[in-house]
Amino acid sequence: MKSLAELQAIRDKARMQVGLRSEGNAEFRVQVGMATCGIAAGARPVLNAFVEEAAKRGLQNVMITQTGCIGICQFEPVVEVINTKDGSKVTYVKMTAEKAVRVVNDHLVNGNVVTEFTIGANS
């Protein structure tokens, strides 16, 4: 059973590690399209997979967020991975939860873009 008391333990642990990370220091920003088109196409399981996989691996350098419709509804669920260091962006299309796990492992952890899921390979 999870309790609010556990949160205090999490806070205390975080306090000890506070020197190790700072907000805004994220190396990757993952943006999942969560407008009506994205959600209807199945964006929620994709977003969930990113959040869960990143949490499972304890990735501190990744920020997962959502964005609106970027105008390519036929390619939804769309995920953009932005490298905050150099500003480069990779757009993944027609994503699924399984593909999301691979993007976390290959791209976010090991730095290798999963080319076969990108918009370039799917249009």
Binding site: L4, M34, V51, A55, C69
Partner: protein, 185 residues
């Protein structure tokens, strides 16, 4: 939409784009009266009376990337086709409240679906916003207020840090299960 919970996610995005800092999401079920109500209330920029009238029009949208806005009209249709009702109250500068009522036993009722995932993702992906999630089923009630979590966590552990998201997911799932009593609609 396959689940009403997906509509909630969609509708809440409107609150987020309206610049809300506090969003109330309430899912209330009354099995005796055969009613399920979903309310989303925000303190965002609100709408004028004219805008309120036009949001239920699928061909109205403030966005520029496409010409249709289906979120609100879909939600309204889903409520009304079960014999339920739908209303929006909004005041410019104050915020918007949207309330949809459903009749769960109706043949056209779309299942509520995984509302826990919806709330979980809304919280973890908008760590700077506050949410109050209230889930009621008959006599049972569960309330999660991110302002309370924030108070416990302080500055050092943001709501989207890995440890907190894992805790939050488990907490939401367990508490929701207690309220739903294992047989959700």
């Amino acid at each position: 939409m396959r689940e009403l919970a997906l509509n909630v996610m969609d509708i809440t995005q409107n609150s987020i784009s309206a610049g809300a800092t506090l969003i109330h999401i309430t899912v209330e079920e009354n099995t005796g009266k055969d009613r399920l109500s979903i309310a989303v209330e925000d303190n965002g920029c609100g709408m004028t009376e004219e805008q309120v009238k036009s949001v239920i029009d699928p061909f109205y949208t403030t966005r520029t990337t496409r010409k249709v806005g289906l979120g609100v009209p879909l939600f309204k249709m889903e409520a009304e086709m079960t014999g339920g009702s739908f209303r929006i109250d909004s005041e410019k500068g104050k915020g918007t409240k949207l309330l949809a009522e459903f009749v769960p036993s109706h043949v056209d009722m779309i299942p509520l679906g995984n509302i826990t995932d919806t709330v979980f993702l809304l919280i973890t992906c908008n760590p700077s916003l506050d949410f109050v999630y209230r889930r009621v089923k008959d006599e049972a009630e569960f309330v999660l207020d991110t302002r309370e979590l924030r108070e416990i966590l302080g500055e050092d552990a943001p709501l989207n840090s890995p440890e907190v998201t894992q805790w939050l997911k488990g907490y939401l799932e367990e508490q929701t299960q207690i309220v739903e009593g294992g047989n959700s609609i």
